[in-house]
Symmetry: C2
């Protein structure tokens, strides 16, 4: 019994998320304009997929809801492939309840009422105007749920300027527990690259990490979340 | 000398584009909205890349101008990687003169004056309106050149309805020699798929091919173009 306790303690130190369910969103969303065209963004999914893999290594049951990416599904993770923000929201809601939600996807803020047929260019005519409709805010909807609100809700803020101020405003407005903020200006090389330089912005302050490989950012983030979660409620499942 | 002539004849039957320069465009273009977001389309580049590979196998010197695709550069082909329609046009013009131009890329009809910083969603505010500007029509610009107009200019028409009528109108309006028309409605599975069902629309009529692997469409198209070119001018280089 003593040996079993020691073993369980060691086990839980290495795999602190055993028994926990973690939902991670990753990649861009793709919003159709017509059957051929779409609006999207440069998110590669590398950071979100690395977080899903790190959470699985930490013992969690992981549901990864991924937009269209060129990278492989991480091992040991349940992957739901989606295209649009509306599909991503539905997949996240279907995956609840969870202990931790990490919204690493670059969800399109707007969608376009898609045309049923390919829009034809009218020779000599004016270009069409695309009227955008606001997409649901998946992070805020998860963070502000009255039922099945995960104990930890983590968002990402991809900024090109005023990184910390924008992240603090986002933290308050969306009602989440932590924002992972990074600079995605073209000069940073973060979009599509293998490294990331992030700041963890919480109600209790800002923690700045050096430039790290995205897999190392993922491992550190999962360790931090496991610490925070350790003091909180029982697993949801 | 007799054997050399026989060898040359056999050689030219198998490699009918020896000494010819062929420019192929392939893939989508990606038009930036801001540093993160872009407008694009579902073209995989599979058909254009297959045509470039087939032209190289037929002995041509091939320049492939490719938008962002997930597939590998074909062997034996000079590849110019571009992102936007304006970059594609510049790369095509830099590659001229050519005996054949094949515009298989799905060039974005419109671009957006990109914002220098990431567009911020204004909480409670109206979504932004994207005002589109018409992109240059690469196919028409090549087909209507006064100097260095390739002997054969071939366009593609990706249609979701009225495939032949739209292709005939496109042939006349753009001034090209041949349109390869296909149905890219969602039901066709052409976008991203490995098969294609095309019609060759020329001033002299319409030829319909059965559903074929994209590599077979490419080989047949290159053979047809070599036949047409055989009767025309000397190689440009």
């Amino acid at each position: 019994a003593i040996l079993a306790s020691i073993d369980a303690a060691l086990h839980s130190a290495e795999r602190p998320l055993v028994g926990r369910h973690v939902i991670v969103t990753s990649g861009p969303t793709r919003e159709p304009i017509d059957p051929a065209r779409f609006l999207s963004n440069r998110s590669s999914g590398k950071q979100g997929h690395a977080i899903a893999a790190a959470a699985a290594r930490a013992g969690a049951q992981v549901t990864l809801v991924s937009g269209p990416v060129e990278i492989a599904d991480p091992p040991g993770v349940t992957v739901r492939h989606v295209e649009t923000a509306l599909e991503m929201l539905a997949a996240v809601e279907a995956a609840l309840p969870a202990d931790i939600f990490i919204g690493a996807a670059a969800v399109a803020d707007w969608r376009i009422e898609p045309a049923p047929d390919k829009i034809k260019k009218q020779p000599g005519g004016a270009p069409p105007t695309l009227v955008l409709r606001e997409n649901p805010d998946i992070l805020a909807l998860v963070a502000r749920r009255e039922s099945e609100r995960p104990a930890l809700v983590v968002g990402f803020a991809a900024e090109t300027r005023d990184v910390i101020a924008n992240a603090q405003e986002k933290l308050a407005r969306k009602g989440c527990d932590l924002i992972v903020a990074n600079d995605v200006s073209a000069a940073s090389g973060v979009f599509g690259g293998d490294a990331n330089e992030v700041r963890l912005v919480g109600a209790d302050g800002v923690e700045s990490w050096p430039r790290l490989d995205k897999s190392e950012v993922a491992a550190r983030l999962v360790a931090r979340l496991a610490e925070r979660l350790g003091a909180t409620a029982e697993p949801v499942r």
